[in-house]
């Protein structure tokens, strides 16, 4: 049975059309308002609250907590000093990605290092299995920690108003503790929107109080709750991949083609092969030595005039579905299929149709023109799609 998150007493009252989807067994609002575009707009122009409590959250505690992180992630964990956050994928021993998430180093408690590990899928078995021989305790805190993303150009103003302290000094991918309406919370400068934003980690039993304090502080800044439909649009614009949509976790893959290395999903820049061993390292070294993987993640700029033409051919006005499609669609080069587009959606800010896809290396270079399948009234056609650099949209305020 689907259950509510710690914010449910508030989010359920706000969900005007009872539009929910299930996220890891929790109710997650698809949209709260008449249209999710208003919420998209809040993320890009003002500030939005997104309930991300369904994320899996683990606490790693002990003198070897960072060593456990180092053993698992593809990045160099020595950078993970207190106050830092790393975004990273982690792999199985074949170098195939299990999941991706953010890893937060909290303040040490005596000799114990403390880590908050977030993930899309359950990881407790993987974490505990690999903690063998290390002095670290792994606890699942998914239910005791509520999480809300406060995102948008005015998110800092809202956060400062709500906490009464300045966040001007909290850099991109940094975190620190704060007090919100008397509630001790943790704030990280992270998010899934490609915009200025924060994620707030809140004791679940006080989640509603925290929500109310944020809403009150946010009113003058036009803060709105935002659901998953709006989040999907901004993450596509930001070129951020989604597990089980743009790639399959090695845990869930049935065939080799469903396995992805970090190099195949645009995360190769994070892989640090030089700073010690981690699970999957040997396989990734071998993969690179063999010339790298055969397919790559690409951003696609899909030709709108071609889409218009497909509609016109049937006497219809063009229409762009306002939500991101997660149905994979084939892409072609010279009539031969060379990959698939896994996320497709209209960017209101760029006035462009965008896609994230996985295509053969030979066709992944920036500027390459591909043809993508496009169906109108159940009639198949193709439209041009050009490979472009990611992210599609990258405002300076994200890091500023």
């Amino acid at each position: 049975m689907t259950v509510g998150t710690a914010f449910h007493p508030r989010t359920s009252a706000l969900n005007q059309h009872l539009q929910w989807r299930a996220w890891s067994g929790f109710f997650a609002a698809s949209a709260y308002h008449d249209s999710h575009v208003i919420e998209y707009n809040a993320i890009r122009e003002a500030a939005a609250l997104i309930d991300v409590s369904p994320l899996f959250k683990y606490e790693l505690r002990g003198p070897d907590a960072v060593r456990l992180v180092d053993r698992l992630i593809v990045r160099d964990a020595s950078k993970l000093v207190p106050g830092r956050v790393l975004y990273t994928p982690w792999c199985d021993e074949h170098g195939k990605v299990l999941d991706d998430g953010t890893i937060h180093r909290l303040e040490d408690e005596g000799a114990a290092q403390v880590i908050r590990w977030t993930a899309a899928d359950p990881q407790i078995r993987w974490l505990r299995m690999n903690a063998h021989g290390l002095d670290v305790e792994v606890r699942d805190v998914s239910d005791s920690v509520a999480a809300v993303a406060l995102q948008g150009p005015l998110s800092r103003a809202v956060l400062e108003a709500a906490t009464g302290t300045s966040f001007a000094d909290l850099g991109y991918f940094r975190r620190r503790t704060a007090t919100l309406a008397g509630i001790p919370i943790d704030v990280s400068r992270t998010g899934y929107t490609g915009d200025l934003g924060y994620e707030l980690w809140i004791p679940a039993e006080r989640a509603v109080e925290a929500w109310d304090a944020l809403v009150a502080a946010g009113a003058p800044y036009r803060l709105r709750p935002a659901g998953m439909l709006a989040l999907d649009v901004v993450r596509l614009e930001a070129g951020l991949i989604l597990i089980e949509v743009d790639y399959t976790s090695a845990v869930h893959s049935h065939i080799p083609g469903q396995n992805y290395s970090p190099y195949e999903i645009g995360l190769g820049r994070l892989v640090d092969l030089g700073s010690g061993d981690f699970i999957g390292r040997r396989a990734l070294v071998a993969e690179l030595a063999a010339g790298g993987p055969a397919r790559r993640l690409v951003g696609l700029d899909i030709e709108w005039p071609d889409i218009e033409a497909l509609y016109a051919a049937q006497g219809l006005a063009p229409s762009a579905p306002p939500i991101v499609s997660r149905s994979p669609v084939p892409v072609f080069a010279a009539g031969r299929q060379v990959g698939r587009v896994t996320s497709t959606g209209w960017s209101p800010i760029l006035k462009k149709m965008l896609g994230l896809g996985s295509v053969a290396f030979a066709h992944a270079r920036t500027g390459t023109r591909l043809d993508m399948e496009w169906t109108v009234e159940a009639r198949r056609g193709t439209v041009a799609a050009r490979v472009v650099d990611l992210p599609f949209f990258d405002p300076a305020r994200k890091r500023a």
Partner: protein, 533 residues
């Protein structure tokens, strides 16, 4: 003379800047000369009251061509259009609220009239089909009606063919749209007064016509053109006000190498000794700038009667320029507010204020507003189109405060006492607007921090909009398509060689579309005019 350009553009409004961006993108050495210290022309925003940014004149954007946004990569240059959804029509003791939720809107209309709700669905379907039929015109250079070159007519032939293929019912509706008044056209469909009145408003904006004047029905269709693009959305606000649109286009133009000078008013166009060709411009300070092509984004009267020396134009052409109708009919009242206005009868919350608020209770209200204008008086009880951009874009007001834009019709340029009397009547005009809105939202006067009233005379003096017409000339049928601005001269050229036009007086007319500027540039690039600099 040290400087020489391929093209000099007179006026740095959104169309002039668009032309400049396209020419610079094609490698032309391009210079834009703007008379004011601020770019944007009528597409301008200004922090008139400290902390409060007003979109001083134009206030919404609906038809900014998506191809321009893509071609010039305007998003990269700061373009951010925010949706403006729904229309709230306040009444005494009731309201009509159409919103961005189809089912809720149908339920609301059904509350007034069950048959109107059904008709609304059918009407929307028909208008969308019509708009799809007519929309290609926006991206098309109108043919010269005297031309025998079949290529010029291909686009129009396509339209003719499409028209012949339309179902009979749509053909009939189209002819109705072309000939009827907005009120008569809507009367065929609906019985709910506030619904008809609010819908009729789009037929009269920027014209000196009333909702019962024939020909106004056609303009209703324009309302649907944005809508059929689905994701492009019908109506929007620009982040930071409409001036930020001009800023984005200017930034794109500069990125392509165009030069832009402000505080550089042009006094006249320099002509060849034979006075049949433009060779550059002379600035108000006497500076001369040589150019292969001069392009004016000013309105047609300024372009031909002020910027050219007398008697260089063919007499019949000049006569037609003089006959081109401006007849400005609207004013603006911009308010800085301490708090939101509260309408006496409202559906609760503040969402209803997020779209447009339309003071249009009945067709009679609309027509009576026009009656006064006909005899040279501003409407005591006008039609007012209100938006509160700070509800969607908090950047335009201090936290928790608001800006409110009131577009008001009618404010006839030609007052009975003459246009100059606007300076005496402006205060009363502003007060009439505030009094009327206060009838529906009594707290309004208490929350006003500051007000700015813009009369049609101000528009003419400050922004060079002849007779205060916001569209550089009325958008009436006889002044559209191949008759805009002058029959036979709809292709951005003029009787003077190398003197071109690109402003809103040209096809397809006014509004923040940019289509005029883009089409003019593309036509110029296609014309074989050589680069010279």
């Amino acid at each position: 003379m040290a400087q020489r350009y391929d093209a000099v553009i007179i006026g740095g409004g959104h169309n002039g800047l668009t032309t400049a961006a396209y020419l610079a993108r094609a490698g032309w050495r391009t210079l834009v000369l703007e008379k004011r210290d601020m770019l944007g022309g009528a597409t301008t925003s200004d922090e008139v009251v400290p902390g409060y940014t007003f979109s001083v004149l134009s206030y919404v954007v609906s038809l900014l061509r998506p191809e321009i946004i893509r071609d010039l990569e305007l998003a990269k240059h700061g373009l951010e259009i925010l949706p403006l959804d729904g229309t709230f029509t306040p009444l005494h003791g009731d309201f009509l609220w159409r919103r961005d939720d189809h089912a809720a809107t149908m339920r609301e209309i059904r509350r007034w009239s069950a048959t109107d709700a059904d008709a609304y669905e059918e009407y929307g379907q028909l208008m969308a089909d019509m708009a799809r039929f007519i929309k290609p015109i926006l991206g098309m250079v109108p043919p010269d009606p005297t031309s025998v070159d079949p290529r010029d007519w291909l686009g129009v032939l396509g339209l003719g063919r499409d028209f012949a293929r339309l179902p009979e019912r749509q053909q009939a509706a189209f002819i109705g749209l072309m000939t009827m008044s907005a009120a008569d056209f809507l009367d065929q469909w609906f019985e709910t007064e506030p619904l008809k009145a609010t819908m009729s408003a789009s037929g009269i904006i920027g014209t000196f016509l009333g909702v019962r004047s024939p020909g106004t029905a056609y303009v209703l269709l324009h309302h649907y053109m944005g809508e059929i693009d689905g994701a492009f959305r019908a109506w929007g606000l620009h982040k930071g006000g409409t001036g930020a649109i001009s800023a984005a286009i200017a930034s794109a133009a500069r990125a392509h190498g165009a030069e832009i000078r402000t505080g550089a008013g042009v006094s006249r166009v320099r002509l060849s000794p034979a006075r049949d060709r433009a060779t550059g411009v002379v600035l108000e300070n006497g500076e001369e700038i040589a150019a292969g092509v001069v392009i004016s984004s000013a309105d047609v009267r300024r372009t031909f009667l002020q910027l050219l020396e007398p008697r260089v134009l063919p007499a019949d052409f000049e006569a037609q320029v003089r006959r081109f109708k401006f007849r400005g009919s609207s004013g603006k009242v911009n308010l800085a507010l301490d708090a939101l206005p509260s309408f006496t009868t409202n559906p609760g919350g503040t969402e209803y204020l997020r779209g447009a608020v339309s003071i249009s209770p009945s067709l009679e209200h609309m027509e009576r507003a026009y009656d006064e204008a006909k005899y040279g008086r501003f409407s005591r009880r006008p039609y007012v189109d209100i938006v509160i951009p700070s509800l969607v874009d908090p950047s335009v007001a201090p936290p928790g405060k608001h800006v409110m834009s009131c577009f008001v019709q009618y404010a006839p340029y030609n007052l009975a006492e003459g246009p100059a009397d606007w300076d005496n009547q402006k205060e009363a005009f502003g007060n009439a607007v505030i009094d009327l809105v206060s009838e529906f939202a009594p707290n309004l006067e208490d929350v006003i921090v500051e007000k700015q009233v813009v009369s049609p005379l101000d528009m003419e003096r400050e922004w060079g909009l002849t007779e205060g017409n916001i569209f550089h000339g009325e958008l009436s049928l006889e002044q559209l398509f191949f008759s805009r601005p002058i029959p036979g001269w709809a292709r951005y050229r003029t009787p003077i060689r190398d003197y071109w036009m690109c402003g809103s007086s040209t096809h397809p007319g006014g509004g923040i579309m940019g289509a005029n500027g883009r089409l003019a540039a593309l036509e110029l690039l296609k014309s074989g005019t050589p680069k010279v600099a």
